[in-house]
């Protein structure tokens, strides 16, 4: 069943390349062969974490002329927020590598394709 789909695609491609009917739609400069790898999907661009904590700390600094001892509370809360954010990022990336039901991760697909690469030398 994959072969029927395959031949239909090949016929369509050969029609697009031919000069018999109309002007050729495709004029490839390289052979029409897929690569042995899959592109990495862009993970959704996150937002800046801990901005509120940072702005509170900076306001405190501005008031106290950048003396650190008077702003220790804000600084402690900023550090805690940063720690939490780092743990959240780690968990999220772990969950992504493990999850993704039904579909392969791009890295996993690349590993598989590399095991059975396209033959470019006839041995």
């Amino acid at each position: 069943m994959a072969m029927q789909g395959g031949t239909a695609l090949q016929e369509k491609v050969s029609r697009m390349l031919s000069r018999k009917q109309k002007k050729p739609v495709l004029k490839p400069n390289k052979p029409l062969v897929l690569k042995d790898e899959v592109a990495n999907r862009k993970i959704k661009k996150g937002e800046a974490t801990c901005v509120t904590e940072m702005s509170m700390m900076m306001a405190c600094w501005k008031q106290n002329n950048f003396v650190d001892t008077l702003c220790s509370n804000e600084m402690q809360s900023f550090y805690k927020c940063v720690e939490k954010a780092q743990i959240a990022v780690k968990d999220k990336s772990e969950q992504q590598t493990i999850g993704q039901s039904g579909r392969l991760q791009p890295k996993q697909a690349t590993t598989l394709l590399k095991r059975y690469p396209n033959l470019h030398i006839e041995v």
Partner: protein
């Protein structure tokens, strides 16, 4: 007749079963990145050649434990995890400890890192000598101050040079850093939170560059370093000023904080 030979064979076969302690994630995976390199190396295995003074090891090797307190705990007070760890250590090979790791009471990882950063061309002897002279110099200055101070103020003067070093370094650590982020063709200096390692590195780097660049031709390194450390301990001096300037830059650029995506 006592068949010792058969017993020995049985023991050696027992070692070749897959250990139950192997984490689940590693047992049946075929698609994980690790499958190509690491799972093949984590099976029970004895090295035929024992590696000494390497830095690249088979991941089967365990880390050495230099702290003495761990070995002084009596058998009865060990938690189950510690017991399991000890059993594992009796079976698996262990990496050789590096030269910088000691079990002595004077081992200070922060100080060792500072010595390494100060070292030039691998000359650790000179770097360690400079640091020792610095600590001695700081102690002398503080003791002089202590003896000259009136009775009420004596308790406030810190004489321990290691404590002064650690506190000075803490006072030099920046809280927030700047990163160059490109947005719409232009580069903006965006304030970002820093990791602890990065903060410690920046503090040490500033201290060392300050002492190398801004000193009179005839002052020696240890003299200048002790002056800077004492100044940083009391939150004065050029290094703390540099930290404050970084904070001021970050504060002036706080509008760009949203250009970060992590």
């Amino acid at each position: 007749m006592l068949y010792f030979g058969k017993q020995i064979i049985e023991i050696s076969f027992a070692l070749w079963h897959l250990p139950e302690s192997l984490p689940r994630g590693l047992r049946g995976t075929t698609f994980s990145k690790m499958s190509a390199s690491i799972t093949g190396l984590l099976k029970p295995w004895t090295p035929r050649v024992f590696l000494v003074r390497w830095s690249r090891y088979n991941p089967y090797y365990l880390e050495p434990e230099p702290r003495k307190e761990v070995y002084h705990i009596p058998e009865t007070e060990l938690t189950p995890e510690q017991k399991e760890e000890r059993e594992l250590k009796s079976v698996r090979p262990i990496k050789a400890a590096t030269n910088s790791v000691t079990s002595s009471v004077f081992n200070d990882p922060v100080l060792s890192k500072f010595v390494n950063m100060m070292m030039k061309d691998g000359d650790k002897i000179i770097a360690k000598g400079i640091i020792t002279q610095t600590l001695e110099n700081m102690k002398r200055k503080q003791v002089e101050k202590y003896h000259k101070a009136p009775e009420g103020k004596k308790a406030e003067i810190e004489c321990n040079p290691y404590a002064i070093f650690h506190q000075a370094l803490e006072n030099c650590k920046p809280v927030i850093g700047l990163a160059s982020i490109q947005k719409g063709g232009k580069f903006y200096q965006v304030p970002i939170p820093l990791t602890d390692n990065r903060r410690r590195f920046l503090a040490m780097k500033w201290m060392i560059t300050e002492c190398r660049d801004n000193k009179h031709r005839r002052t020696l390194m240890y003299e200048k370093l002790s002056q800077e450390l004492l100044a940083a301990f009391s939150k004065e001096g050029n290094v703390v000023k540099r930290k404050h300037e970084l904070h001021k830059m970050a504060e002036s650029n706080r509008a760009y904080a949203h250009y970060r995506w992590w």
